[in-house]
Structure formats: structure tokens, C-alpha cells
């Protein structure tokens, strides 16, 4: 890889000349943490775009999140959700998610279609059930490494009639007995489901 040639200051470009949607397509790809921590103070056009709700249709909290403490990530996530002004459609929360944060998302994001929750010990069955009640448009739910029970699955099925995709990964659960009730809860409550992925589930042949 060749190092870029040294640039003199007058070679800097005025990125204000780019159309908004081009700049927006760069920002959206950066992910929420980069936008909040650096992109929004790069220049005025980026700053303005970072305040506009459509920039926050999708909130991806993955990039470089490990450098921050959970309370800060929770605060940043909440800030990002607030900036979407109810337009949020797609969100990805890893590790730092809590019931409170999930409730905030559910309370303010009636249009949410896709929710990814990975490794969030701070979210309980009740938390997810209560949030689901406020997310009638939810189409895709992915829950990984989280001990969710049939109770929450039933609640999600009842409250989210449009649910088409469910990914449910319980790999870390130390449970060895055979158990069909989760799968039954899914079948009985999620009639629109088109895509189902169960990992680490103790489903038996009979249950299947």
C-alpha cells in the first residue's frame, strides 16, 4: 500500500459541496458510536446531518464500543434513539443493553422493525415482554446468548403479529435436559414467522 502523498492545506476540500444524501450515506456506514464521538464535529455539514432524524433510521452500536463503559454506551444509545425522533427502524444493541434502555427504545420508536439484542444480561423476560407490547410493527428479532424463556416468547408472539424472523441463540445456557416448550411457544404464538433459527435449544424429536 502506498502512503498518500503529503497534502498542503489548500488541497483540503469543502465537503459542503457534496449533496446531503451522499454525505448521509457515508455517515450511516460509520455506525452510531463514530457519529456521536467524532463525525458530528468534523464540519458543519456533517454536524447538521447528524442532528437530522433520518440519519438515525438505523442505529448500529457495534463499532469500537469496547472502549467505552456500559453507562456511557447506554447514554449514547439513548441519545441516538432520541435523535431519531420516532423514525428508528433498525437497532443493534450489544452487551450494555438494560431493561430501562429497551423500554426507552420501545417507548419512543413505534416504527421499529428490526431489533438485535446480543449478550445483554441486563435485559430480563419481563423487560422484553413489556417492550414487545409497544413494538407492534416488529418484523425481525434476534436474541443471542441470553436466557430468554417461553414466557417472553409468548409475549413477543402476541404483541408483534408481523414478526417474520426470529433468531434465538441460547448457546451459553447450562441446561442439558430436553425441553420443547420454547419451540411450542413459538409455533403457537408466531403465525407469520417465515424464518426461524434456534441455536443451543434442547428441542427433542417429538417436539419437532
Amino acid at each position: 500500500m502506498h502512503p498518500p502523498p503529503p497534502e498542503s492545506p489548500d488541497e483540503f476540500h469543502d465537503w459542503l459541496e457534496l449533496p446531503r444524501d451522499v454525505t448521509a450515506s457515508i455517515l450511516v456506514r460509520l455506525g452510531a458510536i463514530h457519529i456521536l464521538k467524532s463525525a458530528q464535529t468534523v464540519c458543519s455539514s456533517w454536524h447538521n446531518l447528524c442532528k437530522e432524524p433520518p440519519t438515525w433510521h438505523t442505529i448500529d452500536m457495534r463499532n469500537s464500543g469496547w472502549q467505552e463503559t456500559f453507562p456511557k454506551l447506554q447514554k449514547m444509545c439513548q441519545d441516538a434513539v432520541d435523535r431519531s425522533c420516532g423514525l428508528l427502524v433498525d437497532i443493534n444493541v450489544e452487551y450494555f443493553g438494560t431493561n430501562e434502555l429497551l423500554m426507552h427504545i420501545a417507548d419512543t420508536s413505534p416504527k421499529l422493525k428490526r431489533l438485535w439484542v446480543v449478550h445483554c444480561c441486563g435485559i430480563s423476560d419481563e423487560g422484553l415482554s413489556q417492550a414487545a407490547a409497544k413494538l407492534p410493527l416488529l418484523e425481525e428479532l434476534s436474541i443471542s446468548y441470553y436466557p430468554l424463556t417461553k414466557k417472553a416468547l409468548k409475549a413477543v408472539g402476541r404483541c408483534c403479529p408481523r414478526l417474520k424472523s426470529l433468531k434465538f441463540n441460547t448457546q451459553t445456557q447450562k441446561r442439558y435436559e430436553e425441553y420443547d416448550e420454547e419451540a411450542l411457544a413459538i409455533v403457537e404464538n408466531m403465525s407469520e414467522l417465515r424464518h426461524l433459527q434456534l441455536v443451543g435449544n434442547r428441542l427433542t424429536n417429538d417436539g419437532l
Partner: protein
């Protein structure tokens, strides 16, 4: 249509005053130009491109010549090794000519460059990496630097910064 089967040539004049001959098969991929090709060819016109230089137009033409399937592989090296200034020129050109695929490819590369800075970058790192100039008033810049210094890179500088009211 009376146009001949033979591939026609569309002429452009770039911002650095160079004349460029582009095959019709490539020119039709410029959405902005597409509808005027018949007229331009029939009247032997040259289309001026006031904000696209010859070097950038050559890259755009090269991009469009590749078959859509091969594009990503063939252009990977060119786009990935281009510094921020070249990417900016490409974005301006692709936007002006409306070559959607190229806009997506380059914006993807720009955001990747920012992410690849490695740590959580500060605005100055982002500006240097992709050649963006700050247009904030000096007092805003000064305040931002002060906050970064006193609170450190991992603190909630920006939330404070924004709530300080310096920026609307």
C-alpha cells in the same frame, strides 16, 4: 431510431480543459447525460464538466467500462489506495454524472477509512484521514480542543460540547 449500430462517441470537456472521448456504452451509465446523447452526437457537441477534472473522469470511465460483476474486484485496488482527496473528487464526479454504484462504492470506502483509524478518532483525525476541512468558527474549534484536552478522548466530550450551545 435512425442512429447507426456503430458505437458512437460522446465528447466531454473537463474542468482542466481537456477533451475526452467516451464510448456511448460508457456514457449511458452517466444518468445525467443519458437522455441527451442522441442530441449531442447528432450535433457534434462537447459536454462541459465544470467540476470534474481529466484524471477523475478517467477513473470514472474506467469504473464504468468494467462489467458490473467484475467491478468490485477490478476497482478494489484503485479505490482502496486512493487518498481522501481523490475519493472526494470521485464522489463529486459520480454525483454530478449520477453513477449510483460508484457513489456507493466510494462512500463505503470513505467510512471504512474513518473506522480503520483504529482507536475512536477525534474530529481532527477524521479530517486528516479523508481530507475534510473544518468550517466551524475559530471559537468553536478552540472550545472543542479545550474540552478534548480537559476531559480526555473517552469522555462524553460531544454531549457536553453540543449542550454548551456553541453549535446550533
Amino acid at each position: 431510431m435512425s442512429s447507426s449500430k456503430k458505437s458512437r462517441i460522446v465528447k466531454f470537456k473537463t474542468s482542466d480543459d481537456k477533451t475526452f472521448e467516451v464510448e456511448e456504452a460508457v456514457a449511458v451509465q452517466f444518468e445525467t447525460i443519458k437522455s441527451m446523447i442522441d442530441y449531442v452526437c447528432a450535433n457534434d457537441c462537447t459536454i462541459p464538466l465544470p467540476n470534474v477534472n481529466a484524471k477523475t473522469l478517467a477513473m470514472v470511465v474506467e469504473w464504468c467500462k468494467k462489467h458490473a460483476d467484475e467491478r468490485d474486484q477490478l476497482m478494489e485496488v484503485d479505490v482502496d489506495e486512493a487518498p481522501g482527496a481523490v475519493l472526494y473528487d470521485l464522489l463529486v464526479a459520480a454525483t454530478y454524472l449520477r453513477v449510483e454504484d460508484l457513489i456507493h462504492r466510494v462512500s463505503q470506502r470513505v467510512s471504512k477509512m474513518v473506522i480503520e483509524i483504529g482507536k475512536l478518532p477525534e474530529e481532527e483525525d477524521v479530517r486528516k484521514t479523508i481530507n475534510i476541512k473544518s468550517d466551524f468558527p475559530p471559537q468553536v474549534e478552540e472550545e472543542l480542543r479545550k474540552l478534548r484536552r480537559t476531559l480526555g478522548p473517552l469522555s462524553d466530550v460531544l454531549v457536553l460540547f453540543v449542550s454548551s450551545g456553541l453549535l446550533e
